[in-house]
Amino acid sequence: MIKNQASRLLFVLLVFQTMLYAQSEGMVSIKGSRYLPLYGRDSTVVAVKDFEMDVYPITNSQYVDFIKKYPKWQKSKVISLFADKGYLVNWKSDTELKDSEKPNSPVTYVSWFAAKDYCECQGKRLPTIDEWEYVAMADKTTKDARVKPEYNAEILAWYEAPRTNENTIGLHPENFWGVHDLHGLVWEWTLDFNSVLISGESRKDVDKDNNLFCGSAAVNATDLMNYAAFMRYAIRGSLKAKYSMKNLGFRCVKDIPNEFNSSF
């Protein structure tokens, strides 16, 4: 009887807590935790706080709206320091996509600067690598599906499928958190994408060169999970903030204010 009451109380508390903080439109809340990132033999456990994440990547039509509001990101006006020549090459004018592009395909050919500014203009920000990887390691039913062979096989299959950037958002089922399209559509910018090679924070300084080349790939390479992750870290490592790529889009996240953050 007491036990029953206790669980009822817990239930009420849980409901109460989720009601305290109203979820933003088009986003789902992610409950933070500590986890071991996919990549790297010298990785340590990282902590991710509670946050909200966009359910879908930013689409072409959302970006059209953005660009109309913030003309400095139109391709004729953009400062070349912030976007290379590939920026929005699939647009026929400053405010119009080419006819071949679908409005609800993910926006690509955007630089990191543009993506970052987009999110900030919505009162959001780009996810960190740790946040992105944390959400992306879930499949439909579990928070951490990385040990499942079929989870990894699906990700690897995308790497071999051509022209997926032309697909529309939402075709992939939502994962445990209710987020779609982390895998199988486009690569996504992260806030600290270049920390892989440049910063010594996440790894020993002496290792920063060879982690992505021959040596490290040979270590633990029997692990399918590493293979899928290697590719993401490799693509991030190859980027510069002004690059714009056909297969690279983004989505935003939002911090949950500390008073509502239950993780820590």
């Binding site: 790497y159 060169d209 870290y233 690059y243 056909k246």
Partner: protein
Amino acid sequence: MKTILKLMTLILALTMFSCFNNKETEYANTEDIPVNREMLAELTSPPNVPTPIGRRKAKKLIVKMEILEKVGEMTDGVEYMYWTFGGTVPGSFIRTRVGDEVEFHLQNHPDNKLPHNIDMHAVTGPGGGAESSFVAPGHEKVFSFKTLNPGLYVYHCATAPVGMHIANGMYGLILVEPEGGLPPVDKEYYIMQGDFYTKGANGERGLQPFDMQKAVDEKADYVVFNGKVGALTGDNAITAKVGETVRLFVGNGGPGLVSSFHVIGEIFDRVHVEGGDLINENVQTTLIPAGGAAMVEFRVDVPGTFIIVDHSIFRAFNKGALGMLKVEGEENKKIYSGEIRDDIYLPEGPGIQSMPTTDEVVASEIPAKSFEEQMEFGKNAYMQTCFACHQAEGQGIPNAFPPLANSDYLNADVDRAIGIVLRGKTGEITVNGEKYNSVMTRQMLSTDEIANVMTYVYNSWGNSKKVVTKEMVEKVKKSK
């Protein structure tokens, strides 16, 4: 006057000597070889190689290599997502000479999904260039290196996961010729072996994804030359003429398997072992490590089709590691006679020129009821009895077994043809203008079976569409 002349001769001699001397300057250190002028490197797709460097001086050589991820055919009905240097597997052949300063432009096509780089075994420097060439899709990286050591070298992608990038076809060869070039030969070709790991078993149709587990276990579904099954067979075979010297630049991209490279019916006169300076002579099979190469040279003395294999032989006949070198020209009976006779070997003694059998052949149980059945049964009998010599399309084998397709000899006389099947045939005959002198033994076929198989032959491959009945066979049987 005389002294002036003498002086002039001396000066002239000196200048000549110095000119001569200048030409032959040898540098103790290849690093010191000066370069002059710029040149855009000629790149070729396999099995072709660029023109030899000959006597050209060291240059600044500009190499522009484009990376393409694209779907290609592994074998009939099987497709694979190849990652390529220059659009082919193996990648474009790069030909340099010692002392060249290579300015390498690595271009990653914007449609590609992944970043790539290049590690060239000919490069002296960290990562073989890998670190300096790591390039995102839609970008180009430039780095340069000086070729210090002559030899034949493998290049490959070294982006994580390295094994997967190589397994998908990202390898090729770069040749560094010595001063003055390699000795000239008549024909040069580029062959590179690679192993592929697909989700489906060998031959399973459709677009096959890469299978990581099989790759880790080194259980290849395909082992092929030049990226696909049949890249060097049939119309794609490499060719030479009798008397020519052939040089093969052979590489092995791996990722997993070592190649026992062999050309059936040839002995390699010279092998640059492992692509280096060491030359071994009179070699039957040369070992090519994964990530290694060899230069193989031989003179072709007789005509015919020479089969190129990895002599780990199941790879050749079951996984695709099979190519062909077709040599045309005059036969040389002294070196190779061809088949002289096919005699029956009977330990008890000579005399009987037929397969041992009784006269009573069991008649096939179910006689054909219609023309269609005759054709069907006839085809079965053909595939069991006649196919080995006369071949699937009745084309026969030149100089050995006469053709049945479009055969003037066959169509001229039905009874004669029936007689040959009944009793066998020895001696010279002329079929479609070609002379044949072989032995066909009498066949162990029933009267019905002979009628069926001959009807099948007459109604196939452009023959006269005669229908042979049991009665016709009986008639011939009784006639002698």
